[in-house]
């Protein structure tokens, strides 16, 4: 069943986007196909793998379980919004230095979920990190290096005194 197209105005990584879309379009597809922001990946499309995670009004959200029309008027951050100019942010740099990615398909989701986690939990222990990582699936690197990267990023951020 098709329905009338709806206007969606949304701010993504500080930039305003306005697109006319069918109400059935998922946010993940909206970001990729309408906004050209292909850093957000779609893995399972039912909320299990976490590859599509974005930050919606400050909280991590599965973009495969959200419709684009639901974010009208809201603010989003996707993986494209993490780097500071041409330099990786602390979490991205820690992933790079600790070999926390291999094929990289799952990485944007991990980064977005962990961005929220490190803001809420600036000094996490390994159990807390692993609990948080349970919401994102990686099928090639494994989790040991990702845990190390989170620890390194948390330490760096604490030393920098940044949020």
């Amino acid at each position: 069943m098709s329905a009338a197209r709806r206007e969606v105005r949304v701010t993504v990584n500080g930039r305003a986007y306005s697109r006319s879309v069918e109400p059935r379009i998922l946010l993940a597809d909206f970001l990729r196909h309408e906004c050209g922001l292909t850093g957000t990946h779609v893995g399972c499309a039912h909320g299990v793998c976490g590859a599509c995670t974005v930050v919606l009004d400050g909280v991590s959200t599965r973009s495969c379980l959200t419709f684009a029309v639901q974010v009208d008027g809201k603010e989003l951050t996707t993986v494209e919004g993490l780097a500071e100019g041409d330099s990786l942010n602390a979490l991205q740099q820690a992933f790079h230095e600790n070999h926390a990615l291999q094929c990289g398909y799952c990485t944007p989701g991990f980064l977005m979920s962990l961005t929220e986690f490190l803001r809420e939990t600036p000094n996490p222990d390994e159990t807390q990190i692993r609990e948080r990582l349970s919401g994102n699936l990686c099928r090639c690197t494994g989790y040991a290096n990702i845990v190390r990267a989170v620890q390194a990023a948390a330490q760096h951020l604490r030393e920098e005194g940044e949020p």
Binding site: M1, G47, L65
Partner: protein, 269 residues
Amino acid sequence: MAKHGIDARPLAGGQSLVPLINMRMARPAVLIDLNRCAELTYLREADSVLACGPMTRQRELELSPTVHQHCPLIAGAMPHMGHATIRNRGTAGGSLSHADPSAELPGVAMAMDAELIAEGPNGRRSIPVAEFFFAELTTALEPDEILREIRFPKANASTAAVFAEVGNHFGGLAIVGVAAQVELDAEGRCTKVALAATGAGERPTRLTSAEAILLGEVLEERTTIEAAEAAAADVDPLEDLHASAHWRRRAAVAMTAQALRQIAAGVHN
């Protein structure tokens, strides 16, 4: 909803319904998004209950000091309920209305004897939780009704609560869970016992035989084992891809024992 009847579905957090839509297992013609109804999101403390708006996010239940203080069983169950990102969007009312047999909150509501308020074109009505869950994904809500409020009775200072669960990995798909809420007197005797299992039948189930054994008793290992074994007869599990009926029955016994041991050891919410 009055106009579209069973073709319409209310959309709460979308963490269960949207996967079903994406997999084409649910094909509602009309989705009615409740996410912009601010008046459906609240936690209000009354004399004997904590009233919860249906659109209250699970993450808020997890982090709320009021919930920790007055409804320790909810606080204990929340970390099991999907992952943090899922709980950011998933709602209290959505989980109860969706009525997945393995979901945690329906079991919690059963153990707490929650009262559910439905609202439709004919006004509001109260549904005791024991009469709310009919079968898998089927509740007492009419097609033109939504769950309008959940009233969780407040625990008192002597209440110990544990949610014990076995699943395929932490935060992943739940297989069997047991919600336990026990009041102990100064001598450690159980003066009030509520146990409910999830994932061990087509709806959440009170473990009444186990409760009867524990009432008035001290939580010693012998009593714990006797009560947990009695729980096997209280459940009527179905077999599916994830576990056989026998496995689920034994898991209900094991989770009952685990919850009771944690309460006996003082490791509880």
